[in-house]
């Protein structure tokens, strides 16, 4: 029973990951991006849980709980930690218009499928077939980093990139030891907290967090 729906579950989770990534490029509102990030965290946790159950490793289920708490709840909550009224008004004016951005996302996804199939081979397993999604997420995260002006939108790109790396890890090798995973998650959480504080400082000092206006270096 489970063996039959296992490939479909993997495909569903991977599809959700890719869809949320593409939507993050499309949507300009910060609040929407954060919600999509939370959805993506949940999808990633679900993916890990499915792999864990299929391979009979209780450790992976634990990891999936960890991912759910950090990436699905913790990080989005930290990012949205501000009055809802003000966050709704934050609209990104990206350096790339939505049509061009979505087209680029398509190209990047195709590229990652080509790269993975040519370099590593897709293999027979359903996880192997989904592996290019991880690379696509990394590339889309990078795209977000270079196309967004605001510091916090860039932070979302960074987190998307991190999710992509995690996806590749789980799909290709069944995850890293739990201790390492725990350390990575805490690391990312710390980075986000620091950058968040940094962004608030920037806002109070310069009145905005548009990074592309910061060009000069000072002592």
């Amino acid at each position: 029973m489970f063996e039959n729906i296992y490939p479909q579950l993997i495909g569903l989770c991977a599809g959700a990951l890719l869809l949320t990534s593409a939507l993050m490029v499309w949507r300009h509102s910060l609040l929407a991006s954060i919600r999509l990030l939370a959805l993506q965290g949940i999808a990633l946790a679900a993916l890990v849980a499915v792999i864990g159950i299929a391979e009979g490793e209780p450790e992976l289920v634990l990891v999936s709980l960890l991912i759910l708490s950090v990436k699905g709840i913790g990080l989005p909550w930290v990012l949205a930690y501000q009055s809802k009224a003000s966050i709704k008004q934050i609209q990104e004016s990206p350096r790339l218009n939505p049509t061009a951005a979505l087209l680029t996302v398509t190209l990047l996804t195709i590229l990652s499928y080509i790269v993975v199939s040519r370099v590593f081979g897709l293999g027979d397993s359903s996880t192997g077939h989904a592996a290019p999604i991880g690379l696509a997420m990394v590339l889309i995260g990078f795209l977000l980093l270079i196309s967004r002006r605001r510091a916090r939108s860039q932070l979302i790109g960074f987190l998307l990139l991190d999710n992509g790396i995690a996806t590749i890890t789980f799909l290709t090798s069944g995850g890293v030891p739990i201790l390492l995973e725990f350390a990575f998650s805490l690391d990312v959480l710390l980075v986000v907290l620091i950058l968040h504080v940094f962004a608030s400082r920037m806002r109070t000092k310069f009145g905005g967090t548009a990074v592309d206006q910061l060009r000069e270096l000072h002592d």
């Binding site: 350096r95 790269v115 795209l143 270079i146 060009r215």
Partner: protein, 670 residues
């Protein structure tokens, strides 16, 4: 753990303790406390080096996770000798700095850097693999850079010197790193024992790279341009450590390459080193002889001395290639003795210059004078060290140059037959270079001592000079005693030094008579004490006749016939450093390219009457203006173009890495 290992560990421990003390001690105690610890570091290094030089083995292994040969600090005899030289200078400098430092030179940062500098310098000769060698070298460079920059806020020239120093020391480091990398790639290891025995092509490439690198560390032409900026601007005790000890690391590197790593090179290696050394010696002493800034003079003189060391090293390599083993060993021992004696006299000279600056605040010779009567101890120490620098008998410099000349004169022939055309051309030329260098060195140090310490003060500051504190005097006297000891007892010292490079030391150098030195392979003997004893019978009649004539014709005061009782010579009528060197500037006009500026101000009423004449003469460094400036201008021009690529926008930088990632992905999937 062996004694050597314990000594190395103790140096590291004391270094860490000194850094901690520098960070935490109260400003009033800092110089004394950290200076004492630095002295202890240097003494430990001295004893460790002595042990290693006498043949004790053992070492300190540093555990790392990288998959390379283990990092092992275990000085051999040669390493022990250089550890001894470096830490000997370290003792003098540490003692001196305890009471000489003040203001920014005594800041917390400077005192943190001092133990780093000393420990780094002492560990370089102990390294037995390229990684720990480079590591210690970088610690040394970092420490010295920080020490140099101590007073960067007070003087703009210090900041400029710091930039030159950083750039040039990193250039040298790059060459050394590249040279070791070539050797490691060709031999498949990083330990010095693995780096030997490789194919000719990588050996040639590595030799040139390492020569450039160590030549830069040893201040050889044309990589010497940092010297006349850095050594004068650094605090004097740091200049003494840099010139007395740090440049010896360059010499050690040269010996490491030519004796240990690549011992059987082709003849052109020796000739190349001789050419570079000879050019450095001539150019260095020429610049020194016309300089009127005391510390610039000493800095250029360092280039000269290191040039002589490399000349001796090159001659030894050339002679060894032709199987003239005795002469080759003598030249190599001469190179080591030159290095040892230079460490002794140059650190004393720089410390003496520091004492002059301490007392008068001046380092321009044209504004000094008459310090002999006001600072007798400094004057005596500086005088003895000047004798050493000018290679006058009974000092250390003489013995070393004598030995070098002996090996060059006798080296071209083996059992009466000429060994090769190259050697029979190179050796006489080298003798000529040394002769000219020695003559100019004599002139230079007569000027340095005479203008600074004799005659009348040329400025108010010089007239009000006072002797320096006891600890500074102590280190000056110790340095001067070293210079004399090395000159009076060359035999035992040369025999000891020969052990570190020669397989059969007693065939190369022997100690004879009262501490005299003998070169059995060449058949030359020098016994300074015996010479002194023999000269006494000659001197006694002269002294007696002087005393007798002084009694017979008592001293008369001669006044100017039309002087109205005024004095004949005012301070301004004396020779100055500039006027003393003026004939030299004329003779070597084509090499030195001096620029002169004469401004005559006339009296307002009549243009036939002169109110004042102002003469300014600048001698710039030819290598800097002709070689470095064009390159720097070129870099600057391209730098402005390149600035558009890196305009400070974070998005642009991120785009670069994104595009690079995409390109890599596309390339690997093709």
């Amino acid at each position: 753990m062996s004694g050597i290992g314990a000594g190395l560990l103790l140096q590291l421990g004391l270094g860490a303790l000194a850094v901690l003390t520098a960070l935490t001690a109260a400003p009033s105690l800092r110089s004394r406390a950290v200076g004492t610890l630095c002295t202890l570091i240097a003494v430990t290094g001295f004893l460790t080096g002595l042990g290693a030089m006498l043949g004790a083995t053992g070492g300190l292994r540093i555990f790392i996770v990288l998959p390379i040969d283990p990092l092992l600090l275990a000085p051999d005899r040669l390493g022990g000798l250089f550890m001894l030289i470096v830490s000997g200078v370290g003792v003098l400098v540490s003692l001196y700095s305890m009471s000489s430092t003040r203001g920014p030179d005594a800041s917390r940062t400077a005192w943190v850097a001092m133990p780093m500098f000393l420990v780094g310098m002492q560990l370089v000769p102990a390294a037995t693999d390229s990684v720990s060698f480079l590591l210690a070298l970088e610690i040394m460079t970092l420490g010295s850079t920080v020490l140099l920059l101590a007073d960067h806020a007070g003087r703009a020239t210090v900041a400029s010197a710091g930039i030159w120093y950083s750039a040039m020391s990193q250039l040298s480091f790059f060459f050394i790193l590249a040279g070791f990398a070539v050797l490691a790639a060709a031999s498949g290891g990083t330990s010095f024992t693995n780096l030997q025995a490789i194919e000719p092509v990588p050996a040639n490439v590595a030799f040139v790279l390492l020569l450039l690198g160590f030549g830069g560390k040893a201040e050889l032409v044309p990589l010497h341009v940092w010297v006349p900026r850095v050594l004068p601007e650094a605090p004097s005790h740091v200049s003494a450590a840099m010139s007395g000890a740090m440049v010896k690391i360059g010499v050690y590197g040269g010996l490491l390459v030519s004796v240990r790593l690549l011992p059987d090179g082709p003849a052109w290696w020796g000739i190349a080193i001789m050419v570079v050394g000879g050019a450095s010696a001539l150019y260095g002493i020429l610049q020194a002889s016309v300089s009127s800034d005391l510390k610039v003079l000493l800095a250029y003189s360092t280039t000269e001395n290191m040039g002589l060391v490399f000349l001796a090293l090159g001659a030894s390599m050339l002679l060894r290639g032709y199987d003239a083993q005795a002469a080759a060993d003598a030249a190599l021992v001469a190179a080591l003795l030159l290095a040892v004696s230079h460490a002794a006299f140059k650190s004393t000279l720089f410390l003496g210059a520091g004492a002059i600056i301490h007392a008068t605040g001046e380092r321009n010779l044209d504004r000094l004078g008459g310090l002999g009567a006001r600072m007798p101890v400094t004057a005596a120490a500086f005088g003895i060290a000047s004798l050493g620098a000018a290679a006058i008998p009974i000092t250390s410099g003489f013995v070393a140059e004598w030995m070098l000349l002996q090996s060059l004169i006798h080296g071209g022939r083996l059992d009466g037959a000429v060994v090769s055309v190259a050697a029979s051309v190179a050796m006489p030329l080298a003798v000529a270079v040394i002769a000219l260098t020695a003559g100019l060195a004599l002139l230079t140090f007569v000027k340095a001592y005479g203008i600074a310490f004799l005659a009348r003060p040329r400025s108010a500051e010089a007239a009000e000079a006072h002797e320096v504190p006891p600890l500074m005097r102590l280190s000056l006297v110790l340095g001067a005693l070293f210079v004399l000891a090395l000159g009076l007892l060359p035999g035992p010292i040369a025999a000891l030094v020969a052990h570190s490079v020669s397989a059969n030391p007693s065939a190369a150098v022997q100690s004879v008579g009262l501490g005299g030195v003998s070169l059995p392979g060449i058949g030359a003997v020098l016994d300074p004490i015996m010479l002194v004893v023999l000269s006494v019978p000659v001197a006694i009649p002269v002294i007696v006749s002087i005393i007798v004539s002084a009694r017979r014709y008592p001293h008369r005061t001669v006044a100017l016939p039309w002087g109205g009782g005024g004095s004949r010579a005012r301070p301004r009528m004396q020779y100055t450093a500039t006027s003393y060197a003026e004939p030299l500037v004329r003779v070597f006009d084509d090499v030195l390219k001096p620029s002169r500026d004469v401004q005559v101000t006339h009296v307002a009423e009549s243009r036939y009457l002169v109110e004042r004449v102002r003469v300014e003469q600048r001698v710039s460094d030819v290598f800097e203006t002709r070689l470095y400036r064009p390159v720097l201008t070129l870099f600057q021009r391209y730098g402005i173009v390149v600035r558009h690529i890196a305009n400070g926008s974070i998005h642009r930088y991120l785009s670069y890495s994104f595009v690079a990632l995409l390109i890599v992905l596309i390339v690997v999937s093709l």
